[in-house]
Amino acid sequence: MKIQIYGTGCPNCTKLEEFARQAAFELGLNAELEKVKEIKDIVAAGILRTPALGVDGQVVSQGRVLAVEQIKSLLQDRTK
């Protein structure tokens, strides 16, 4: 599984990345974290607000820093 963090490097993006890492760790997932920083790639993914979170290239949330619990439930939905 690949988890994408979309964002140009604002403090919120860093926070989301940290929470996503934590969520994947707590679930014991073997996930690879991928940071998408290039503005063209962010827009190409259909994102208007950063930070955004993607799972295997599919955007699952944008414009907010989700809590670890929320990321966990999103990841669990995707692994089913």
Partner: protein
């Protein structure tokens, strides 16, 4: 109701004499802090919930290929409830342009979203009353609409960085919300804002309380009253760099208003604080060439100054 509770606390319980400067300043401080923090919590919570119904993804769709004026008005109105994070300005801008939202309409949104700031709005409501809060929204809307229409009319598309028009975006992701998630989002957002601004609010009200109690009446009439014609541009120039401290500035401005600063000057100052900011300009430079940035910035500054004069003339 709050005033009576605070009076009782300050005068009866703490035994401070009613006529002392210190007691007056302290009373003002406690009263305003309680009231403003309460209003901030309730209103930000409600606005955030409303906002989950109106994400920019939807805005983009209905603004696409809208005509001048109608499009500008709609963009400015939606901008009120949309929160503005300067780190999202670039993807938002590209996404709008890519979806066929006209440049001028996009700018109306980009002006109104940061200018009509919900924290500033609540502070105004709490400290000046609903009339001034409405005036603030109204003049913000007018500036956003006119600035967008001017930029649209000037046909400045050539000053947008070329790559913006080449980007092809995927289907925009739209979230689905359960009622529970909306409430949770509202609560989280409110908590985040409060954490960010409460110190500024308390500090600002503290300084305001000091001015209220110690600075003589009409102290500022000479410098910032309606007779001084340079007060408005000066206030705007001071306000522009003060971006992040809107929450703290408003209580101070309110106290200054009581000491003779004119309403238009105060309003212009607050708008300059919440809207035109240098960090935002630096970020927008990624998609806009310098001449367009200069035009944008100038229209905004002139618009704010005009609102200031207008209010000084009528109030």
């Amino acid at each position: 109701m709050w005033q009576q509770i605070v009076d009782w606390l300050v005068y009866a319980q703490l035994g401070l004499p009613r006529e002392s400067h210190f007691a007056q300043a302290f009373n003002f401080f406690v009263y305003d802090t309680v009231k403003v923090l309460f209003l901030l919590s309730v209103i930000i919570f409600l606005i955030s919930i409303l906002r989950t119904y109106l994400p920019p993804e939807k805005t983009k769709k209905f603004l696409s290929h809208k005509r001048t004026f109608i499009g500008n008005v709609m963009a400015a109105v939606v901008g009120i409830v949309t929160p503005f994070c300067s780190c999202s300005a670039v993807p938002l801008f590209i996404g709008f342009v890519e979806a066929g939202v006209p440049l001028g309409v996009t700018f109306s949104f980009l002006v109104s979203s940061p200018m009509i700031n919900e924290v500033a709005l609540v502070m105004l409501l709490g400290m000046f009353g609903w009339k001034v809060a409405l005036i603030y929204i109204g003049s913000g809307l007018v500036i956003a609409i006119l600035a967008g229409m001017a930029i649209g009319r000037l046909k400045l598309e050539k000053w947008v960085e070329g790559f913006v028009y080449k980007v092809k975006s995927a289907q925009t992701f739209e979230e689905t919300w359960t009622p529970r998630e909306r409430v949770r989002y509202g609560y989280d957002y409110m908590q985040g804002i409060l954490k960010k601004v409460y110190l500024f609010v308390i500090l600002g009200i503290g300084v305001g309380g000091f001015i209220h109690g110690y600075v003589p009446q009409d102290f500022l009439v000479r410098y910032a009253g309606p007779e001084n014609h340079f007060a408005v541009p000066l206030a705007v120039l001071i306000g522009i760099p003060l971006y992040s401290n809107a929450a703290g500035m408003i209580p101070v401005v309110q106290a200054l208003l009581g000491k003779g600063m004119a309403l238009g000057t105060s309003l212009a100052f607050m708008m300059a604080v919440t809207s035109a900011s240098f960090p935002e300009m630096v970020i927008l430079r990624k998609v806009l060439r310098v001449p367009l940035l200069v035009v944008f910035f100038s229209i905004l500054t002139v618009g704010i100054i005009m609102v200031g004069y207008l209010f000084n003339a009528f109030f």
